[in-house]
Symmetry: C2
Subunit: 400 residues, 2 copies
């Protein structure tokens, strides 16, 4: 009986340091959700678990504001949710119009191509919303397009696009719509039925403040019809909606893959917290904390990447001032203050910071803590800042 | 601000019932692992998290008995691990020999076909191990085959195949090997380097007794070379090894997708428990409890599906006696005794039970509890059983 490669005896149970998560996700997970995560594992066909699944679907429909029967959590992160949409909606040779205004639009193009589809790319500048006029023009120029895909809230830039208009244009042109709501869900209105969106996915670790690893997803009846008539198997077995319908569908519970039970307990709890708070209250809270953060950041001389009308309250992209050392600031915030903020991605690397106030992280104490810490770190970098001014401005914002 | 579809006000935090999980997975998750799962979420690029990832890889290499650099957990269940192997190792048109002796071999065929490969199927009866002579014949008849795939421990039947011989045959024929070790890892010897296996995946929720949702995986250098020279993109973005190398690789930490941090804490803890116990001790424990269970089941007149030489100690498939109501017995075990056992799948549905003694579930108290419960349930079904005989036989087995 060989027994080689024993790992270093120094490995111990992992004790994560204390952090405040103010980056682009994951956000801070509240104790209630962590406690749910740690409840005893039971079988995924246990009647008690099956009853919990029904509640989970109902809670997800509330979060997405939809009556879609086919609403469930994908057993993987947001990128698995994205891929589930593309492998099921895009047939080989299908033309797909992808609106790209950041990293995640780019990832959608990768998905189209790997499904054998043809991507027609509508580009907008990073930091700007998707321009509906450009989508309208692309639809007019491509009457054979089958699908329109765009990102509602671009996590790489903090820009919010007009999903209602984009979905309407897609629908009027006879296209199905795929909408990335990873960062938007529960932070700003996501109104699946009102938009008439067809395939919408999100992530557990942003404004839901659940542990990372699940992707809530919802599909319209049009998608179900398309899948039933596609006459071929999806290229992915794991993400095949036909097969998943057997486990998450209305009446049957056929084994497909082992459900991530404990993660689903946690998602149930985090969605329950959203329902208890109600969506309008959650949206208002995200906005209130964003405005306070903005007031403070302005005192620190930090400007936003996105114009005010299209700014996400839950993800604040700010320009790094000339002469300030990006990595040194983030390292000091993390090591000296226990605060994580996000770096820029792609062409914005080194140029912006991404400050997330998502879900449970969107709280007054975090706004004040961050502003105080940022003031001290920027002062140490030789920036001229008025002591206490940023925090005072945020406090005024809360009082006003 | 619309806010419709509020879920029923009756939904509360989910409180799972007390269960003992003696089915085909998930197995019981020990408190130590549940506690790890519930530790505070931190960022997936946090230096503390990155250090934990290195420990995790080292612990996984021990569990797999390999030095493979490319050893990491897939952010999805075992079926995602399976699909990662096929989408990265099988190019369109590639001939793949799949050995099928149960449900999961059949799933491998699905994967080959969805990757555009050509599956050559070597069938063995359900409940039997894969016959190496049939594989040798298939390799001789298909000199252009590129990959051989088989299941080490068939979860649907409880049969263990000779992975060392099957990998050697594949290798001698110039094929890469894909080996499903979902149910075998840490329950019976899985010796990746000694076998010369190329792509090996497992699941977190079987003999590792971690929460479900992750798939530990390891790839040989031959696979890395094949991927680097394939000259095309994998059909899956989420499961593309090229891209994942950037996050889980040796030196870099490029964002690919949001890692399921809390689930990874739990996997770290469960693998640490395996290393503390040591693999030979874990294998011996699974065998000891299996033998006691067998002694008790024989007293109850229950026979095994698999012959003794190829029986998995961690998954015991037993034939349901004539006249006994499958569903009634499982429902009574669950409702009256809190014990979950598994049903048969596919052609074995209604004909067998699958009794798992995996990981933390493989304990003397569970064996005795199950035998006592099964005796009472079978007696209620009108079977003639000698009161106390099954438990006594198991006790003798432990003492012997």
């Amino acid at each position: 009986m060989p027994d080689n490669y024993l790992p270093h005896q120094t490995i111990q149970s992992f004790a994560p340091p204390v952090r405040t998560l103010l980056g682009p996700g994951p956000s801070d997970v509240p104790q209630r959700v962590l406690a749910a995560l740690a409840r005893p594992t039971i079988g995924y066909l246990d009647p008690a678990f099956v009853a919990m699944m029904e509640e989970l679907k109902s809670l997800m429909r509330y979060a997405f504001q939809t009556r879609n029967a086919l609403t469930f959590p994908v057993s993987g992160p947001g990128s698995a949710g994205m891929e589930m949409c593309f492998v099921n909606l895009v047939n080989p040779g299908d033309k797909v119009i992808v609106c790209r205004n950041g990293v995640f639009g780019g990832r959608m193009i990768e998905n189209v191509e790997r499904c054998g589809g043809v991507a027609v790319v509508v580009d907008d500048e990073w930091g700007k919303p998707v321009d509906p006029a450009k989508l309208a023009a692309a639809l007019a120029a491509n009457p054979d397009a089958k699908v329109v895909a765009f990102v509602h809230a671009e996590t790489s830039t903090g820009a919010l696009s007009d999903a209602a208009t984009l979905c309407r244009l897609a629908h009027e042109a006879g296209c199905l719509s795929i909408v990335d709501c990873v960062t938007s869900l529960a932070g700003v209105p996501v109104l699946v039925d009102e938009w008439g969106a067809d395939a919408v996915y999100s992530g557990s670790q942003k404004c839901l403040s659940c542990a990372p690893g699940l992707s809530p997803i919802t599909f319209s009846e049009r998608v179900v019809e398309k899948i039933k008539s596609r006459g071929r198997k999806a290229q992915s077995w794991f993400l095949d909606l036909d097969l998943l319908l057997g486990y998450w569908g209305e009446t049957t519970r056929t084994y497909h893959h082992t459900a991530p039970n404990n993660s689903l307990y946690a998602l149930h709890e985090s969605l329950l917290m959203v329902a208890e708070e109600t969506l309008p209250a959650a949206w208002a809270r995200h906005r209130r904390n964003h405005l306070a953060l903005r007031a403070g950041l302005e005192q620190l001389g930090l400007g936003f990447v996105v114009d005010e009308a299209h700014r996400l309250p839950q993800l604040n992209a700010v320009s790094i001032p000339e002469g300030v050392d990006d990595k040194a600031v983030r390292a000091s915030l993390l090591q000296d203050h226990g605060i994580e903020i996000g770096a820029g991605l792609g062409p914005l690397a080194g140029k912006i910071w991404r400050i997330g106030l998502m879900g449970y992280s969107s709280r007054e104490e975090n706004v004040l803590h961050l502003l105080a810490a940022l003031e001290s770190v920027l002062a140490a970098q030789g920036r001229s800042v008025t002591p206490g001014a940023a925090v005072a401005a945020a406090q005024r914002s809360y009082q006003g």
